[in-house]
Every structure is written in C-alpha cells, then in structure tokens.
Symmetry: none
Subunit: 201 residues, 4 copies
DNA sequence: CTATAAACGAGACGGTACGTCTAGTCTTATC
DNA sequence: GATAAGACTAGACGTACCGTCTCGTTTATAG
C-alpha cells in the first residue's frame, strides 16, 4: 500500500488452469467433420461434443455458438488454401486467385464451411455480422489491395470500383457453387477478360 | 352431374369435404409474414400454425415441409414480380430483367424468400432439389430462351454459353444481396456491357 | 342460427386427444420404483421418463414437479393401505391405526414415499405446502374425527387437543422411521395407554 | 513460529502449508448462512465457495460433502445450545431439556440445520450414517445417561426402555417442527407427565 | 334425408437439441 | 504444501419444436 504497492504492476490475479488446446482442436475438427460428413443439419452442439469427446459446457465456455466454431476453422483454412496474392500485381495473379477460389468452393471440404456460413447468415443476423467482421471484410480488404496494386501497375483497368469489381468476379463463382454447378475454366477467364481489361482487348 | 359425368367416373372413391382454400392462404401468408418479420429462425411449423390459426396437421397434410410452403409463395410472387421477358429479344430487355431481379432481391419482401431458400438449400439436399426443380430450372429455361432469342436477333454476342452467361450476370447480383450489399445501377450496366457485347463496344 | 341453435347448450369446445392413461400410470410406477430401488437422489425427471418410456414433456405437461408425482402415488397408496378408521370409535381402532401406520412406514415400499416427501418438504417450501394441502391436512381431518368420535363415546380421554394428541402419537413413530429404527409393539401400546387414557388406567 | 520466523517473513504471516483456519470458518459460516437465508436447495458447494471467498477445491479437500460441513456446524452449535443435562438427575431437568430442544428446533437458526440433515438423511444413506455416528448417537448416549440417572434417583419411572422413551419424548417435538407446527408448552408437559411418571401421578 | 368420409381445430404423444447449472476432479501459479 | 482460480467431463434441468397420432366437429357429396 506504500511505495511497495505502487511499484507492483497492475495486479495480475491470473491463476487457475489454462485452456486445453487438445479440447479446442478436437472441437474444431469434430465440427468440420460433421459438416462435411452429415451436413449442417447434423451439426448440433451435442453432436460436436459427442464426437469431440468433450463436455457441452466446454464448447459453450469458449464459443458463443456453433457458427463461431465454423468461423474459426474457416479463417484458418481459407488463409492457408486461398491466400490473397499480395506480391505480384498482375492480371495473372488475379486470375490464379479466382481459380483457387473456385477450386476451394467446389473441391475442398473446407469450402463447404464457407457456403454453409454464407447460408446461415441469411437465417441469422448474428451469423451475418460475425461472418463479415471476421472473414469477409478482412479478405475483401486484401482483395482491394490486390486490385488497386494491379491497376496502379497498369496491368488491369476495371470499369467498376474495387468492391463492385470483386463482387462481379466472385459472384458468379459463388453463385454456381451455391447452386451446385461446376465452375468451368472458361468462366473465370471470361470474367477476368471482360471485367478487368474492358478496353485493353 | 349428367349421365356423361357419371359414366366418366363410375367409381368415385372421393367424398367428404374438400381442401379449405382459406386455410391454404392463411398458411402461405403466415409463413411469408413470419419470415419477413422475424427471420427464418422463427419460421417453425408450430409458429406458422399458430399465426395462421390452423392445426399443425393441416400443414403436414398438404406440405411435406416448411420449405415447400415458401416455394409455393416464391413461385407465385416471382412469376408476378420478375417475369422473364419473352417478347422483345433486345439487350435492353435483358438489362431490364436484371434490374428487376436486383430490385426484387433487395427491396421486395418476397426476395427474402428466395435468399432464404437458396440458403436453406445449402443445409438440406431436399430443399436444394425442390428449389431447382420447382423454381430455378424453369426460370433458367426461360432465361436461356431470352438470351438465345437476343443472340439470334444480333442484339447480343455473349462469349460464354447461355447458362454460364446467366450465372455471370446473376451471380454478382445474388452475391451482393447475400452479403447485404446494395446493387448499384452501374454494376448491372457494366455486367451487361462486358458480358453480352464484349466486342460490340 | 335458428331457434334450435339458440336452444342448444353452450358448445363444449372440447377437442384434441385426451390424456393417455397408460402414460400416466407408467410415470407413477416408474417414480415409485426408482425411489424404492435407488433412492430419492436417483429420482430425476429424466430417469422417470426413461424408465416409464415416456417423453420428458409429457411429465412436465401434467406434473409441476417430481414431488407432485410422488404425492399422486402416496395419496392413492395411503388411502388403500392406512385408511383412517371412521366406523368404530374405540381405543382399539386407534391403536390399530397406529400399528398400521408404523407398518406402512417401516415395511411398505410406499412408506418410503411419505418419508421422502416429508424430507423434501424441509428443503423446499413448495413441497411443504403441497404435502400439507394434499396429504397431511386431509388425513389429519379424518384423524381428528376419529379421536373426537372415540372421546365422545367415552372410549378415550386425551389430555391434549386432538391435533397435539395425534402428533404425540404419530411423532414417535415417524421419528423412529426417519432415524431408521424399528417400531416395537410396546411403543405403540405405551403411547396409546399413556396419552389416550391417562386417568383411566 | 518465534521472532526469527516472523523476521524471515516480514510482511506475510499468512499462508504456508498448514490448514487455513480462516478458510475453515468462512466455509462453516457461509454454509450456515446460506441454509438459513436461502434454504437447502441453494446450498451448493459452488455457492458456499463463492460466499466464503474460497476455492471449491479447498472445500473438497477438507470435507467429503456439504453435509459434513453442516454436521460440523451442527455439532458445535447443538453442544452449546442444547447440552444434555448431566448434573441434576431430576424430572425437571428432563423437562427443561425438552423445552430447550423445542426452542432450538423452532426458533434457533441452527435448528434448521438439524432438520435439514434429518431430511437429507432420508435421501442419502451416507448422510444418514454420518448424522447418526457424529450427532445422534453421541447425543443419545448422553440422553440415556440422563434418563437412567433420573430413574435410579427415583425421579422418574418410564414404562419403556430409555431409547424408546427418548424417541417418544423427542418424536412429537421433531414431528411438529418438521411439519412447521409450533410446540406448545402443554405438549412437553403432557409428554413428560404421561411417559415418565405414568403411575406416579 | 340421411350416411359417409375427408378436412379441420386442437392438442397429447415420443423424441432431439437447446443453453444453463452444479457436481466433483484436475491443473496452474501464488504465497 | 495449502490456497484461489478456474478448466475439465458428466449429466440433469426445464423449454421449444419436431413429425405422428388420435379426438370430436363440420360439411359436401353419395346413396
């Protein structure tokens, strides 16, 4: 309470057991597996707990909803599988990004997670907000940087602003994935040609 | 009523009361209202029955699931609000169709139904099948006719096939609606210009 | 709408399926069995539902708590096993009643129900109220009648009022049952002799 | 322990490897208070720990169950409030003991503890055993001594053996406390008169 | 003019999952 | 080594809907 008290740093009453990393990973994997194997309908908190060998309370302690569990896996997976190109500001890198995105949505099990969250966001405003804040907005920021970089480098000349351009490029890919259609190589090429170099042709 | 009628259906196993049209409409409106007012999460069969003043069994008797209720309303509404142009095979009519589509998704309460069904289709294969068979496929057939008509008339010259072209046009609109973004007039114009008259400019 | 309709009595808006008697009995028996076999600690609503082959909601629909289930069985059983003598206003019938009571508490499985409810009443005011209103008070009314009848007939001459007399007679029996002690024949005899015929000896 | 020890830890006489008496008392008082204030239903280990400002583990380390906590307080309180008379082997001292007992059960907050434990003993065999071994049996031994002392002194002449006599005296008192009834002075007097001096009148 | 049979409202039923609570155990870091 | 803090597994709590199944009533045709 005297000088000694003043010297002591803001009290760190930290103690107690720390979070169990194994439990955290078990939950993430269980959620992922259940979604891929049995669909979103089978993705209940009880089922996740059962499959992960974890108590329900452990899930509720760390995640406010099953949607946040999926978001955790999605953020990690999408960062690995479909990083936004930041180094080479070329039209080709944009094309490559879109092809990777298409492959992710149609072939990668983790792509199902994005589609499921995009779907759930239509049913639940909280999901919509979380999906935007934690996944879509950060990615969009990097996508904008990718486009403006390439534009500044003279590689592309989009008619629309960066946001609308990205939506025009991604929209068809996402929509076909949502409707269960494949995404042919020509579609991506045409989108890039038509929207990024409208006059350069 | 006459001898002819009696002859045409000699064994009428049918008897008793016929379907109550008032109950049918009450269910459709209750489902629509609940979706718009409280979201898909509040759209339970019990809530629909409660709001419609109808017994649950009456719903289960006529609809296999709540999704089919929504489909019934969607098919009727979309036929009225966003008919596929069939008379004038011009680029302008395509543009008008896309603008109507964008307005439907972002402004019309009935547009929420389409987004909700598209979402639910990600969670449930039965919904996906119904949505395609009863809504998306018939509309796509008319959209294809619209595009081929305009192409034959020399009004447009799409690079892609009619299906991919429609997805490239609709995808951005749907995607922005799904992510809660508005759909600016310039986006539709650019899509039409870039994808339907790539060389005609 | 005619005079006939007006004449018809106020319509009985009865509809819906009636209560399932089999489910009701299954619940009562399951609760009883669980209490006797595994004790009050194992008497959870889930366990009752499981053992009765009944949905939890069915229990919650008809009983506000598991205590009321036990009360239902207790009221029925105690009416059968330890009826309060009403016909013969003799000291002997009182003695017989107390012996039956002692046997009920120590030998009859249903006696465990009374002890459990008396115990639970100490933990929960709602139980205390229900136990009094539905079981103890009605029985006490009949016990009072028994005592006053015998007193009027000159068979007994209790010093205390009927309530205190009954408590003085039953208290030792209940207390020994609560503490797991047997109830010897001499105890009942001495209580009757000492409290009902203090001067008659 | 001496001045040297004090010097070695100038500011921290507290903590170390011995049992923390402050924690022990905090737990006992918290349990007592919770029982009196919110009833047995609110008496959870978590609530005790919370109210006592003590870790759950500290409770589990020293007490096998919350029942033992209550027993600790009960033994201490009952020894103080209702000691069994050992000095004067008179009928009057027995009467005084019973009156004290009645007052303890109906007026003293600590009396609630005995009723709660007697109740819990019906639900849980471990509680029953502990209650007997640590509380009821030792007290009963002293009560027996009280009765035999008075009998030998010619002050009383009970018909029944000492155990049954004590149960016949205490039973009505306990039963009325359990059922929420008051214990009138006349009841105790009549019990003493009727059971201890059946022929001496 | 009945008699039948379908559709209706009401709602009980066996279930599944929800999100919360407490039990009792185990771990970490502090004193 | 005892403590405060608190994460962990386990499982019951009471609620909301699910989809199925009677009930008894209503009503439009069939006989």
């Amino acid at each position: 309470m005297s000088a000694a008290a003043t010297t002591s740093q803001p009290r760190r009453p930290r103690s107690g057991n720390r979070r169990d990393e194994a439990a955290r990973l078990a939950v993430l994997h269980a959620a992922d597996d259940l979604l891929v194997e049995h669909g979103f309908g089978a993705l209940t908190v009880e089922a996740i707990a059962r499959r992960a060998g974890v108590a329900k309370q452990t899930i509720y302690r760390w995640w406010p909803s099953k949607v946040e569990i999926l978001l955790d896996t999605l953020i990690e997976d999408s960062a690995k599988r479909i990083p936004v190109p930041a180094d080479e500001p070329t039209a080709e890198s944009v094309r490559g990004y879109l092809r990777g995105f298409a492959r992710f949505l149609t072939r990668d099990p983790a792509g199902k997670v994005l589609l499921a969250l995009l779907a759930e966001a239509q049913h639940d405003p909280d999901t919509a907000r979380s999906l935007h804040e934690r996944c879509l907005a950060p990615r969009r920021a990097r996508e904008r940087a990718m486009l403006t970089g390439a534009t500044d480098a003279g590689e592309i000349a989009p008619t629309l602003g960066p946001d609308a351009t990205m939506d025009a490029l991604l929209g068809p890919i996402v929509y076909r994935a949502l409707t269960g259609a494949s995404i042919p190589r020509g579609l991506v090429d045409t989108l890039v040609d038509a929207l990024l170099r409208p006059r350069a042709n």
